[in-house]
């Protein structure tokens, strides 16, 4: 049924139709000062110039202190800060929030779900909360669930949150010279952060109409592009790689999938490429995102990216892009966002129009 959803939405014009929801405001949180490539290279004992050339990411933020290893912020801390910022900017009162949806690949605990700690920090109570176990498509999945809850679920407003603390796996004592390439690459790709949006059934705040969402599993029979393992008491000493990234498969498939997502969204929305004013492409790394944006080839669209400055912080990325978009988008302008989750090959994207 999910694959039918954008088609149904596209058949209804944006406006009073119940298939459109609205983003009233966006908030973000990046922990601490940006960490540049010189600092990261020195800390990890790898070559700085290689990170510049092959990753193309300039800075990232870590919740963990690189000098001491001390954890300065939890995922819940970052998500609550982003959500509070979004809530304040939206002009909605906390009692108007009917639900909280959150996506993450790196929860603080398996239980309680981090979303409930976030709600607690925000002073929210007696409302439904949902946490999606998700990677790079997680923000879109959270937006889709929030969209469904305000368009057909009887709710008027909710918080949609995405965040990741990848530095949980940043083992500073480790000798990386023995690390497998599929392990090593993660040290130079990722960062930490969180983002949030207030989603509403009626136009409020920024009045950004969410006129289409695509979220589809396409990984039948396909090996995962990325695996993040977890360990319990019985297997914590196993010599398994905590994160495995099939970067060759990702480099090959993600640009192709991004183009497929773009054309599917355009077709479902009945938009022409020329009608897209802003493009929010997948945020893998500075270098990969540059390449994908070029391959997407939208003639008149302004690219809105953040990964070169924030690092790949997973579920936070689309919110960081949305925050930058809000500084630029004018009434009547349109934006398309594309995200690919290479874990088990999920296609996702969404369409926005400022009214």
């Amino acid at each position: 049924m999910q694959s039918e959803q954008p088609r149904e939405q596209a058949s209804s014009p944006p406006g009073p139709a119940a298939t459109v929801s609205y983003l009233a405001a966006v908030g973000t949180a990046l922990p601490g000062d940006p960490v540049d490539n010189a600092t990261l290279a020195r800390t990890l004992g790898v070559n700085e110039e290689w990170i510049d050339v092959f990753i193309g990411t300039r800075t990232r933020h870590f919740a963990r202190d690189l000098e001491t290893g001390e954890v300065r912020w939890s995922l819940a801390d970052l998500c609550a800060r982003a959500a509070e910022q979004a809530l304040t900017a939206s002009g909605l009162a906390p009692h108007e929030i009917d639900f909280v949806v959150m996506g993450t690949a790196t929860p603080d605990h398996l239980m309680p779900a981090t979303v409930n700690h976030v709600a607690d920090q925000l002073g929210l109570d007696q409302i439904p909360t949902y946490q999606l176990q998700s990677g790079c498509a997680g923000a879109v999945q959270a937006l889709q669930l929030g969209h469904t809850l305000v368009t057909g679920g009887g709710h008027k407003a909710g918080l949609v949150i995405g965040g990741d603390v990848c530095s949980k796996h940043l083992d500073l004592d480790r000798d990386l010279s023995a690390a497998a390439p599929s392990d090593l690459v993660n040290y130079v790709l990722f960062g930490d952060g969180a983002g949030a949006a207030v989603i509403t059934s009626e136009p409020r705040g920024q009045r950004l109409a969410l006129s289409g969402v695509l979220n589809r599993f396409t990984g039948l029979g396909r090996e995962p592009g990325q695996v993040i393992d977890w360990f319990g008491l019985a297997d914590r000493h196993d010599d398994r790689q905590a994160i495995r990234e099939d970067y060759k498969a990702i480099e090959e498939s993600v640009p192709v999938m991004a183009v497929e997502i773009l054309w599917e969204l355009l077709e479902d929305l009945d938009w022409t490429p020329e009608q897209v004013d802003f493009l929010l492409p997948p945020q893998l790394s500075g270098r990969m995102t540059r390449r994908i944006a070029e391959e997407l080839g939208l003639p008149d669209a302004v690219e809105v990216s953040c990964v070169a400055d924030t690092g790949n912080n997973g579920n936070a990325l689309p919110f960081l892009q949305l925050e930058a978009l809000l500084q630029k988008i004018g009434v009547g302008q349109r934006a398309l966002a594309i995200a690919v989750e290479s874990s088990k090959w999920i296609k996702s994207g969404f369409a926005l129009e400022k009214i």
Partner: protein
Amino acid sequence: MHTIDDFVRLVRDELGMPLEEYQVAADLDQLPEWDSLYLLKLVTALEQATGRSLPVGRLLEARSLGEIYQLAAGT
């Protein structure tokens, strides 16, 4: 690292790449496993072995492991 033999040993041991002698002069495209991450591993290992920082921009012009060795050894 003083000789090409030391270099070959370093590639085999530190990178885990099964390198035959004749592959030292082969074009990098002919090495089945070679990619940018192996370059990072090699640069890291060479920097540890030589105690000197390597210019990745110049290494990118090298077309074989032998050429990388020459750049790293400063010959």
